[in-house]
Symmetry: C2
């Protein structure tokens, strides 16, 4: 690539989150940057899109000294990517990066993740895309150790490209930089959340619930993202949005369906 | 199965939608029914879950003559399934059915679909699950032609089971019953939405947008759900929630990632 790539940056924690500010800084060293990100936290939004209400996008940080454009958007992460590609970006971005998420999007979390849905939305549009997440939910999480890995992986994607239908899900362990052992290519671990609903009563005496739960990893495979993260590696899972369970088609064809 | 199966029914169009009322009626002829569905439409919610606010579930239709229990829930389709399994259902359901959706969830729509996210959520919990959708967005859509197919597919799933990690995405063409040619096992077609944002101005002069767009099928394969539906078949796609693009792991391992 001879000219600087145009990189679309988004996330699900909101445009002011320290994670996306770190990601913007890294991307400015690689290419030209356009930011279109939610104006408020959107964690757990999955691949939601806004069908029944209006979308607003406001240009912010207009007078800053750097070249990137930034738009704060009322929609979900997937909305942000759609609006960026169709309306706000001066041309089709060469790459989309999402994050750095405050908290894990490994294993089954990819399903619920607004961070990853933004990357998948870009992938559907034929744009190479990466979601980055740090295993620290705190707002003041330390993203220092992430920087070199985010840069290396991004540069490799720009150099190598990604096949149609594939985006990357990158998770970074919450350990000091010297304790990170490297990057490991993985598969999504088989895991789930065991919810524990906290049942309470409103002042008027009606039941209501808070969703809580604990994460259960059912998969000891050393080729999984959970294993990599527990053992100090940055995990990289190639993610596809063809959800077809191809292997089961043959079996289904033996069923008694007229 | 000697005793009647317990069937969890949910959807994303809301508990009062004609589609779920039809589905409840069909399921009552097969097993015992518990309904936990959103109290308002949730189309396009993808796999969103409610993390930052409370969940409410109200028992409704308590005095009706039938045996099923029904709960109207403030959450997303995925929330409804979690709350049903952990709190509201007397035991773990033997099956979860979602729909009948007013509108298509074929091809890439599976990604945005609240109907399918409910089925996937049940699948993550180890419950066989099916999402049903009719290709008619209208509230007064005619579900007559769907009934026999919904029943046949449901009975087959109860009889045959589904492998761990697989749920079914069933779409029904919007044609008279006599014109339906049968059931076809398919893969998800490669298709996407080309958005056209309708840009307007608020009374105060600020830009805002409505998300609109047209569906583009890029995949002529006769083994796809789009082909089946266009040719008068009910499409059945086995859907998995291991999103790993396994085939690309070997290639990624050749990249220059330390």
């Amino acid at each position: 690539m001879t000219e600087r790539p145009l990189i679309l940056v988004t996330n699900d924690d909101g445009i002011n989150a320290p994670g996306i500010r770190t990601l913007i800084d890294i991307m400015k060293s690689i290419g030209d940057v356009i930011v279109v990100a939610p104006n408020s936290p959107q964690s757990g939004m999955g691949h939601a899109i806004t069908l029944d209400s209006t979308l607003h996008a406001e240009e912010i940080n207009i007078n800053n000294k750097t070249s990137q454009k930034e738009f704060s958007c009322s929609g979900t992460p997937a909305d942000c990517v759609k609006l960026a590609i169709r309306v706000l970006s001066p041309r089709k971005p060469d790459l989309c990066v999402s994050g750095i998420n405050h908290g894990s999007n490994s294993s089954i979390n990819v399903i619920y993740s607004g961070t990853m849905s933004a990357a998948i939305e870009a992938g559907i549009e034929g744009i190479p895309a990466i979601g980055f997440s740090l295993l620290d939910y705190k707002w003041n999480a330390n993203f220092e150790a992430s920087k070199a890995y985010v840069k290396t992986i991004t540069e490799n994607v720009l150099k190598e490209g990604l096949p149609s239908g594939v985006v990357l899900n990158v998770n970074i362990p919450n350990v000091p930089e010297n304790n990170i052992k490297g990057i490991k290519i993985c598969r999504q671990a088989k895991a789930n959340w065991v919810e524990e609903f906290d049942k309470r009563k409103t002042p008027q005496g009606k039941d209501y619930y808070w969703l809580t739960g604990k994460f259960v990893n059912l998969d000891g495979g050393e080729d999984t993202d959970e294993w990599a993260l527990e053992n100090g590696y940055v995990s990289v899972v190639p993610v596809q949005f063809d959800l077809t369970a191809h292997y089961f088609i043959k079996n289904l064809n033996t069923w008694d369906l007229k």
